[in-house]
Symmetry: C2
Subunit: 340 residues, 2 copies
């Protein structure tokens, strides 16, 4: 490892998106006099009568949730994307727009209102993984849908309006910006090298072993060389799978185990139910072979120094490039020590 | 105007970056049960003895601020970019990094701790504009510096750790991501059409007059067709100027007037000192002619529904594309009514 990377300002290249992150290792010493986040460490009941995601309760549109026992999925009552919107396009000089159709769903991970993925048994996380697989195939088989985005916003600081353990799936006709970038960069590499960009990267990471936080037979959990968020991580299969539906029974359990390990380490880091957005990037469902795709799940957590001090991606980050203070390697050292 | 744009989900194309924003007009009706931001409406003193930006006070590194009367500029005590860092590069398989050198400065807009740009006289804002011009030329003339990013983070919710009116300038050797994208898109258009991409866009906007919030002889304030943030706006010169140093005396005053108008309208919108990040994108200082550049200042304010409810750019936005609920045109109608 080049020692300069731990001491001096530099930028690192994201091989999947073609973008750069500015790293300023010396800057972590800056005192913080800004906003503090609220810590939500209160105990929650296992069932909350006022929660619209708990079993048996009534949602805002009048529908009643079933008395579900593990995972419960329904179509978002305030979907950003709908199947019923008309097709149209605007091509008026420099005003360019396209209609976008899609389906948005909510995935309750557990009927237990008090839990998060970090508190759930690996077997129960595996039920969530299986639900994701099913939805990826189901939504992907719809003629309208060419891409399925699975994600979770966890914690009030990440815009999550309900602490009940749940994630979302937004599926749509076209590829969103981030997916389009990763599609292009993986394809260019695959066409040239006839091998998986992320697969080759994982091999290099496993060899140098500087950013690996955890691994089992099937999965690696690491902080990418080009990570943006202070404690950003990625879970990726060692095999070159293009989407999550390719996982065998034992592989999906190994994936659930990796999720369990990293979310528990996160909660231990600042002794708080760790906020993040996570998401799975995988092959579009557009009917192409998509052999260049290597799926992966990323965690983007905002906390920087403590349970109350987050990293703000503002000014320079919005107008220039993302910027981080602690290096990826420093983050790895801390997270790795918390894997149990 | 195509009515579909006000009623149905669609994506709009950003001609400057080549990226898309997802617009879901029907979704504004969604109830909000999530995090509320704190409102900071307390009166501030004109001088705060504990503020490290106030005149005469001592900063964390022991330096004393002068007894300044208008604008005061100093080198950031915790600079993310430095001139003293060594040059190096990492080109190790799929690990790619480059050293980055630069200069970071802090620009105090006024000695008056209680003010923001919205409360300042146009003549005093003009002094800030002149300071920006001077710094752009000064930093840009440094051999090390090829790009100068001027920006402001305003409000605790935007990571600003001190309410004293101030902005920052981060200048550096290479072009950051966002600037690189705008450089490419403006260049491609200019090479093809021999005219300014943003200039032609402004002409089209002035003709249809659907997104113009304010204009004077020299400047337009509008919400771009592809705006991401709920009340995002852009100030752009009507002339095809590549950087702010080209403004004449009267033009710089007209720019200050535009800043005054829009920041006052922002404060009136939710009756709160309106948080935002603002920034100026302008020609690199790399010695090229950069005739394709048309400079502009953008405001990215996070508030969505009220002084306490902001838009969260999380999950889908991080993994997919930015997404907005109210349309650009709805935002324009509200802001336009508040211009005085
Ligand atoms: O430089 P400041 O005000 O200490 O810090 C603020 O602005 C910087 C530049 O946009 C960001 O990197 C920081 O996250 C933010 O807290
Ligand atoms: O869908 P929710 O949970 O109501 O809303 C949350 O997630 C969405 C998808 O990332 C974001 O667009 C919203 O800003 C956020 O508050």
């Amino acid at each position: 490892m080049d020692n300069n990377l731990q001491d001096y300002s530099h930028k690192r290249y994201n091989i999947l998106t073609g973008e750069w992150v500015l790293v300023s290792p010396h800057r972590a010493k800056r005192p913080w006099q800004g906003q503090n986040e609220a810590v939500a460490n209160e105990e929650r009941p296992t069932h909350d009568p006022s929660c619209y995601l708990c079993a048996g309760n009534t949602r805002i549109n009048g529908e009643q949730n079933p008395d579900y026992k593990d995972v419960f999925i329904f179509t978002n009552d305030f979907a950003a994307l709908q199947t019923t919107s008309p097709e149209f396009s605007v091509n008026d000089g420099l005003f360019i727009a396209e209609s976008e159709q899609g389906i948005c769903k909510v995935v309750c991970f557990s009927p237990d209102h008090s839990k998060s993925l970090a508190d759930m048994e690996v077997e129960d996380i595996n039920k969530v993984v299986k639900a994701w697989q099913k939805e990826y195939l189901l939504l992907g088989s719809n003629q309208l849908i060419n891409y399925v985005q699975i994600f979770e916003n966890k914690g009030a600081v990440m815009g999550c309006s309900n602490p009940h353990p749940h994630g979302q799936i937004w599926s749509q006709s076209t590829l969103p910006n981030e997916v389009e970038k990763k599609n292009q960069h993986q394809k260019a590499y695959y066409d040239k090298n006839k091998s998986s960009l992320l697969g080759d990267y994982l091999k290099q990471e496993l060899e140098v072993d500087e950013r690996i936080i955890y691994q089992n037979d099937e999965f690696v959990v690491l902080t990418p060389f080009w990570a943006v968020w202070p404690f950003e991580t990625m879970i990726a299969p060692k095999k070159n799978y293009k989407d999550i539906s390719e996982l065998s029974e034992s592989e999906s359990l190994a994936f659930a185990e990796a999720i369990s390990k990293i979310t528990k380490a996160y909660d231990a880091l600042f002794e708080v139910s760790f906020p993040y957005s996570s998401g799975i990037h995988q092959a579009p469902t557009n009917g192409d072979s998509n052999a260049h795709w290597h799926w992966h799940m990323s965690f983007y957590p905002p906390l920087l120094r403590s349970a109350t001090v987050k990293k703000f991606m503002v000014g320079y980050e919005m107008f220039g490039s993302p910027q981080r203070d602690i290096t990826a390697e420093q983050a790895v050292d801390r997270l790795k020590a918390l894997i149990v």
